[in-house]
């Protein structure tokens, strides 16, 4: 079967490494902020900076959380969309079913966030929904494949 748009199998391990780095960075960032009230900032080139009316094509001081979110998306994409050892139509079916399930759950969470979360947390909740979707998809897909791998062989 053709496996359009999938990354090579070895990219999955790179994906897990990136996800682990992102999670460890999140923990380190949280500890540094909670315990030492110190937050590292990085000056990044941006297309638009709404703060202090800096306008288009300028720079902004970004906290690491933006970089961590980008890393998480890249890592989870590599994990979820890399070829399996034997990539066949059944794996594609399980992948699609997991994606539909994750999309439905994410939609419910997004609607609840949209209706119940106001103020400063809302943009964070809204931005995180794609990462949440990818997380759900990867977890569901891996568990489904694991369960089928454990299935009896006669």
């Amino acid at each position: 079967m053709r496996d359009n748009y999938l990354f090579p199998q070895k990219y999955r391990i790179y994906g897990w490494v990136i996800v682990c780095v992102a999670i460890i960075s999140t923990i380190a960032y949280s500890i540094s902020w909670r315990c030492f009230h110190w937050m590292p900032v990085v000056k990044m080139p941006v297309i638009y900076n709404g703060f202090e009316t800096q306008g288009f094509f300028t720079t902004a001081l970004c906290t690491p959380i933006y970089i961590i979110m980008a890393l998480l998306v890249i890592g989870l994409l590599l994990v979820g969309f890399s070829r399996e050892k034997v990539e066949d139509e059944f794996v594609a079916f399980v992948r699609m079913r997991s994606m539909v399930w994750a999309a439905k759950v994410s939609a419910v969470v997004f609607i609840l966030t949209d209706l119940l979360l106001f103020g400063i947390p809302f943009p964070y909740g809204a931005c995180s929904i794609f990462i949440f979707f990818l997380f759900l998809f990867v977890i569901k897909f891996r568990i489904a494949l694991f369960r089928f791998n454990k299935g009896g062989s006669q």
């Binding site: 139509e89 794996v91 089928f148």
Partner: protein, 66 residues
């Protein structure tokens, strides 16, 4: 849709792993098809029929509710 895959496999003394290798899929696929959790594509059904030297209808057949 029901199937006689397990019987056909037993007749030829093939394991799920053997059949999977012969048609180029994973053992999990064969397991899922046999247990009725997954309905294979026409291509896969034809490949299986070819391995067993039977017609597709001899291996896969519709149920009343299909």
């Amino acid at each position: 849709m029901k199937n006689r895959l397990k019987v056909a496999r037993a007749e030829m003394d093939l394991t799920q792993e053997d059949l999977a290798k012969l048609i180029g899929v994973s053992r999990q696929s064969i397991n899922a098809i046999e247990s009725g959790r997954y309905v294979p594509s026409t291509v896969l059904a034809l490949k299986m029929a070819q391995v067993f030297g039977k017609s597709v209808e001899e291996i896969f057949f519709l149920e009343e509710e299909d």
